[in-house]
């Protein structure tokens, strides 16, 4: 029976003693928690803490080995997500499950019991419009999904779940892909939903301020167990981080002072197009020196991705020049750039930075297959590759059974550590790090940032692209806010106030045409 007649504060769903074992690990170890109507109950935990498993159990994608789920006090068995949906549990996945070529409304009604017959689009549209009005979503129903921003896609998923009658909404990393203004909008909508006595369960690995901002209760997981269960108003950022990681976490990094050396990368008036053929990068100029981190701060979609790809040799420049060590490499392919000492850490770890079906060894080889030291007569030196992989696994504390495991078996944080380890092990003189800590938990973020600082100490020139202003300001020596493909200035970090940078990221100051003084 679906969830019905609840009032604010009633327990709608309970998990009691949920245990799930996978070969070699206990992903969930006797987990108890409860969700109440009208509350936001955040589940917090690092990558690999068992969040995903728990989420899948609550949505019927996995069955627990022990323990049970109770909806309004009655034990239920979810054999598949369909059972969960029928009882009023909805889920918004982190990786969008929408059909890009279909319109918003077609996506929303897909899978709805009523859509099996001839869908009455007029009536549906009115009903969905009403949901939009109530919760403050603004979406063009006729737009195709591929035309939407990340925030809008997420809204479509939420609407889809609500239209299906969800009373409990599980949100997987709801803010990880969103730009700050979109996050604000989402949080506002979520608050209205709780007023209607919906229960929301966001699963979050990082962005502790978001947790503190919106949730009523927090359950913290670590290694499959509940380590803390508290009301949010009793929590602080530090206390939550400590429960998650199991130790104190330093949020402010010490600024690393390294003498600035000669320029490694020089970019002159560079322009490029995005995948749709529209100008995405419009004449940027800058240089990056040895022992320096240049931070590019911006809301995603302002040309950072295109810039990174052009610098890595994966996208053609339309105009302008790229020089490394004073030599023009604008037309040089990516292979030659790797050989010249460039290291690129892509933002897309799963589709670009790694090959899921390849072993960790073969993934390490992605940056070494062209290296004469790792092959002989065209045959891969597997002994050497194995040794290097083992060294990287231990140096970077990558949680894995060994070098023969596949990359897709790694959690997000461990995968990023592997990519970072592989790229940095080449001792690149120029590092392009695109969103290196996006989606990582507190512990992994700290690790990655320290590794970048270590590379800086070894006199690498680093271009850091990030959406996280705190990160940019604490790591960089100079900051360049980017807006619609143009730099709004290049400021030494001491002169960059967080409000100024934030305003420039939003396009409020005039762009600086000349770039910088050389």
């Amino acid at each position: 029976m679906p969830i019905h007649l609840v009032k604010h504060g009633d327990t709608v769903l309970e998990a009691r003693g949920i245990t799930k074992r996978f070969p070699g690990v206990i992903a969930n170890d006797r987990i108890d928690f409860e969700i109440r109507a009208g509350e936001i109950h955040a589940i917090l935990g690092e990558n690999g803490a068992g969040k995903t498993t728990l989420m899948k159990i609550l949505f019927g994608l996995l069955q627990p080995d022990e323990g049970g789920i109770y909806v309004q006090g009655e034990k239920v068995t979810f054999r598949s997500p369909l059972d969960a949906i029928d009882l009023g549990v909805g889920m918004v996945h982190q990786n969008r499950k929408l059909i890009a070529a279909h319109t918003v409304i077609e996506n929303i009604i897909l899978g709805h019991p009523r859509a099996g017959k001839i869908p009455d689009l007029g009536r549906t549209r009115d009903e969905i419009a009403e949901l939009c009005d109530r919760y403050g979503f603004k979406i063009d129903f006729k737009a195709k999904v591929w035309q939407l921003s990340e925030g809008e896609k997420q809204a479509v998923e939420i609407l889809k779940a609500l239209y299906r009658g969800a009373r409990i909404l599980i949100l997987d990393e709801p803010t990880s892909a969103l730009a700050p203004p979109e996050t604000e909008k989402l949080l506002a909508s979520i608050r209205i939903m709780t007023r209607d006595d919906l229960a929301l369960v966001p699963f979050i690995t990082h962005k502790l301020p978001v947790v503190l901002n919106i949730s009523d209760r927090v359950t913290v997981l670590r290694r499959g167990q509940v380590t803390a269960r508290l009301r949010t108003r009793e929590a602080t950022e530090n206390s939550l981080a400590k429960e998650m990681v199991g130790r104190e976490v330093i949020f402010r990094l010490e600024h690393v002072e390294v003498e600035r050396g000669r320029p490694i990368l020089h970019v002159d008036n560079l322009s490029a197009l995005n995948d749709k053929g529209l100008p995405a990068l419009k004449g940027v100029s800058f240089s990056v020196h040895e022992g320096e981190i240049l931070g590019i701060a911006g809301v995603s979609g302002n040309g950072q991705q295109v810039l990174a790809e052009v610098l890595a040799g994966l996208r053609k420049a339309e105009a302008g020049r790229v020089l490394m060590d004073g030599i023009d490499i604008t037309l040089t392919g990516s292979l030659q750039r790797w050989k010249n000492g460039m290291g690129y850490i892509p933002s897309d770890r799963i589709d670009v930075g790694s090959i899921g079906d390849y072993s960790l060894m073969d993934n390490v080889l992605m940056n070494y297959h062209f290296d004469g030291a790792f092959s002989r007569w065209g045959i891969v030196d597997s002994k050497k590759t194995r040794k290097l992989t083992e060294e990287l696994i231990s140096e970077y504390a990558i949680a894995t059974p060994g070098p023969d495991s596949t990359a897709k078996s790694l959690s997000g944080g461990n995968l990023q550590k592997l990519i970072l380890a592989r790229v940095l092990s080449r001792k690149p003189r120029l590092i392009i790090a695109n969103l290196p800590t996006q989606g990582l938990d507190v512990g992994a973020t700290e690790f990655v940032q320290n590794k970048l600082l270590e590379a800086k100490r070894q006199h690498a020139a680093i271009l850091l692209i990030s959406e996280d202003l705190d990160e940019v300001l604490s790591l960089s020596d100079r900051v360049a806010p980017i807006y619609e493909g143009e730099f709004m200035g290049i400021l030494p970090v001491e002169q960059a106030g967080i409000e100024d940078i934030g305003a420039m990221m939003a396009g409020l100051n005039q762009p600086v045409q000349s770039g910088e003084t050389r």
Binding site: S334, G353, F370
Partner: protein, 370 residues
């Protein structure tokens, strides 16, 4: 699902061992044969009699076996030609055109050195044999390079291009060997000229030397995909083109290369059957049948999941069954096409049973509920 006091469930599994895969394939073959047994019965023939005749001709008979082996080697080469692009995530449906290209290349070389007009070519026979093989490799590679280049440069659909080339090269061969064509043989039977005894390639243990060559090639390809940097790069591109590009692997180059290699090997298949198999030694009238036969390379490559060594027994199976099936059809006076029905059903069961590579059946005694 419940069966008595047992619960039967399908569970996903991560890995399949070689033995499991072999067992699953064997089971699929047995079930496929059992299904075709129904067709035999329908035709009024005892399935066991039918199969006994089919297998004994296909695999044991002194006349049938060499034919089977020659066909199997042909299929194996076509499988290798399919597998190389397949590992790069690309579909080579053009083995037919490529093997015709190989045949044109080989016989074109022979023609150029006077092998059509005279018993004694203008260069040493051994040298000409080597040149003919080279011509076959080149001819296949050229036909293969076309879809490879178009795919890499303009992202055209390689399936469409290879399919269309099959037709183009088919008619090119017809033009060459039929009335007045430069490759026309004496007597005007509409087939190509026959190679003289001196430039027929050597045999090994009574069979054409292309048998050990093809087996060696399969082993070499296996090794390439397991150990070589080139194999690594091809597989990386096949698994994730964007990741391969990130790693400095050029999509254009890989695409062109796999089609050139695949085409060259298909060209060798043409050389094998038309020049090396004893008793053929020409582009025959029914050369189109070999184009059809080359399509077994696709199914063989898919069933063996791109593993050239695993493809060997499957190539042998298909080679024997096409051969034995045709024989049985004639001997037992069955309706037209029973050999095709058998092979078609076998392919379906083999592909369907691959489901069990990723899923396993679990039996569990149910606990009695209180």
């Amino acid at each position: 699902m419940k069966l008595g006091s047992y619960e039967v469930k399908l569970e996903k599994k991560a890995k399949v061992t070689g033995w499991e895969a072999a067992t699953i394939s064997l089971l699929a073959i047995l079930i496929g044969l059992a299904l075709v047994g129904l067709i035999f019965r329908q035709a009024g023939v005892n399935p066991l009699t039918g199969y006994r005749a089919m297998f004994s001709y296909g695999f044991l008979n002194e006349f049938g076996l060499p034919l089977t082996i020659n066909r199997s080697i042909f299929i194996l080469l076509c499988t290798c030609a399919f597998i190389i692009p397949m590992r790069a995530g690309l579909w080579n449906i053009g083995m037919a055109g490529q093997l015709y290209g190989g045949a044109l290349g080989a016989f074109g070389v022979a023609l150029a050195f006077g092998a059509r007009e005279s018993q004694n070519p203008t260069v040493a026979p051994g040298f000409l044999i080597a040149l003919m093989m080279l011509g076959a490799l080149l001819g296949g590679a050229v036909v293969g390079a076309i879809p490879g280049f178009l795919k890499g440069r303009f992202n055209t659909n390689e399936i469409v291009v290879t399919m269309m080339l099959n037709s183009i090269v088919f008619w090119l061969v017809a033009y060459m060997i039929k009335e007045g064509g430069p490759f026309m043989g004496g007597g005007g039977e509409g087939q190509g000229f026959t190679l003289s005894q001196s430039i027929r390639p050597p045999t090994a243990l009574g069979g054409p030397f292309t048998i050990p060559l093809a087996l060696g090639l399969a082993g070499l390809l296996y090794f390439m995909f397991a150990k070589a940097t080139l194999g690594y790069q091809i597989k990386a591109f096949g698994l994730s083109p964007s990741a391969a590009k990130y790693a400095g692997i050029s999509p254009q180059n890989v695409t062109l290369l796999v089609f050139i290699l695949g085409g060259a090997i298909a060209g060798l298949a043409g050389y094998h059957y038309f020049a090396a198999v004893p008793g053929v030694s020409k582009i025959p009238l029914n050369y189109g049948d070999f184009g059809d036969l080359s399509f077994y390379g696709i199914i063989c490559g898919l069933i063996s999941m791109g593993n050239p060594l695993v493809a060997i027994p499957f190539a042998l199976l298909f080679g024997g069954l096409t051969n034995g099936g045709r024989f049985v059809q004639g001997q037992l006076q069955l309706g037209y096409g029973i050999d095709y029905a058998l092979l078609g059903i076998l392919m379906i069961t083999l592909v369907a049973f691959q489901y069990f590579y990723r899923n396993t059946v679990v039996w569990k005694k149910m606990e009695r509920e209180q």
